[in-house]
């Protein structure tokens, strides 16, 4: 069965529009080796109080869309994770955003924050896994030159799965989804 899936997936040209999937661990920051590549990073808020850190480094300013999405399940209707790009040289967040951040900003760092409050909540269909997701809505972010971080957190303390999509270039590695099928597909 797995061989059949692999064969058909490889021959499906539409797959070229997919994100490179990665599984996140809240205890270990994920270092993105190729930050211009289009990624879908998946994780689970087990307690609702943890946050996920993704480290990026750009050799020049780089614009890319960022969004957080959760499975379109009734049980996750109130689960609206937020994200923030934090790093030196970024603008200071407003008070509401600063209060929502899961950790204090290091001195000299600013943040671009999306608290995922848009209404009605955007929905999209992901055709590779045939899934529906609620999205925070894609926001175009100009990442600064040098090091920065993406934080994903649950400002309302809700639990559940999420995905973080960002980047623009094709990166391959799509078959990683087959190595942990139940995590990515369900």
């Amino acid at each position: 069965m797995r061989r059949l899936v692999l064969m058909l997936a490889l021959t499906m040209p539409a797959l070229a529009g997919a994100h490179t999937p990665v599984k996140l661990d809240p205890k270990v920051p994920y270092v993105v080796a190729a930050p211009k590549v289009s990624f879908a990073l998946y994780g689970v808020f087990e307690s609702g109080s943890e946050h996920f850190v993704i480290k990026l480094s750009f050799d020049e300013r780089f614009a890319a869309p960022v969004e957080v999405f959760v499975p379109h399940e009734q049980a996750l209707k109130e689960h609206r994770p937020a994200w923030a790009v934090v790093g030196p040289g970024l603008p200071a967040p407003n008070e509401e955003e600063r209060a929502a951040l899961p950790a204090p900003l290091p001195a000299g760092w600013g943040a671009i924050v999306d608290l995922d409050t848009v209404s009605p909540r955007p929905v999209f269909y992901e055709f590779v896994m045939r899934r529906f997701y609620w999205s925070s809505g894609a926001m175009n972010v100009v990442f600064p030159k040098g090091d920065c971080e993406l934080w994903v957190f649950s400002p309302r303390g809700t639990k559940g799965k999420f995905g973080l999509g960002f980047g623009v270039e094709e990166g391959g590695g799509y078959m990683a989804a087959l190595e942990d099928w139940s995590f990515y597909a369900y």
Binding site: L8, A9, H72, Y125, R130, R131, A185
Partner: protein
């Protein structure tokens, strides 16, 4: 209804290089009703896909024309596929009867707050049926589909079924 069924049978029989004759059994005996239960493993849903099978050829022949309409529910979506295709049923009259099929499928996926997602493509199925009583079979199939019109995609899943010849 009877006329259209007869025309369908004649067309199908002709297309398969077979001839429908008056000597055949009654029209009703050409039909089989199937009630498969199925799980889709890409886009998790589960449900029923009732199917109507028509035998265009002589009794005991392999060919079936298949029409199926499914209704599936899952944690994220409601899934409604409509299929039309061909199924070959081998070893008719014996207990173990391998099956293979191919056809076209129109898929609809629904959630409350998003427009329906529609796709059109082809499906393949393969499995085995067991004759458990006169006119009754049970069995299992594996199915795959590739959608190439509308929203693309690839799917697969297992199906268990019971079929009765009318």
């Amino acid at each position: 209804m009877r006329t259209s069924a007869l025309v369908l049978g004649l067309l199908a029989g002709s297309a398969l290089g077979q001839t429908v004759t008056a000597a055949d059994a009654t029209l009703a005996s050409r039909f089989e009703l199937g009630l498969p239960a199925e799980v889709t493993l890409v886009g998790l849903t589960a449900g029923a896909r009732p199917e109507l099978l028509f035998r265009p050829g002589e009794p005991g022949s392999r060919s079936r024309i298949r029409l199926a309409v499914g209704l599936f529910g899952g944690p994220e979506q409601l899934f409604l596929p409509v299929s039309l295709g061909y199924r070959a049923c081998f070893r008719q009259g014996l207990t173990v009867q391998p099956l293979v099929g191919v056809g076209v499928e129109l898929q609809h996926r629904f959630v409350a707050d998003f427009p329906p997602v529609r796709s059109f493509g082809a499906y393949l199925e393969a499995g085995v049926a067991f004759a458990v009583a006169p006119r009754w079979t049970v069995g299992a199939l594996l199915t795959t589909d590739v959608m190439f019109v509308g929203t693309p995609g690839f799917g697969f899943g297992p199906r268990a079924f019971v079929t009765v010849q009318l």
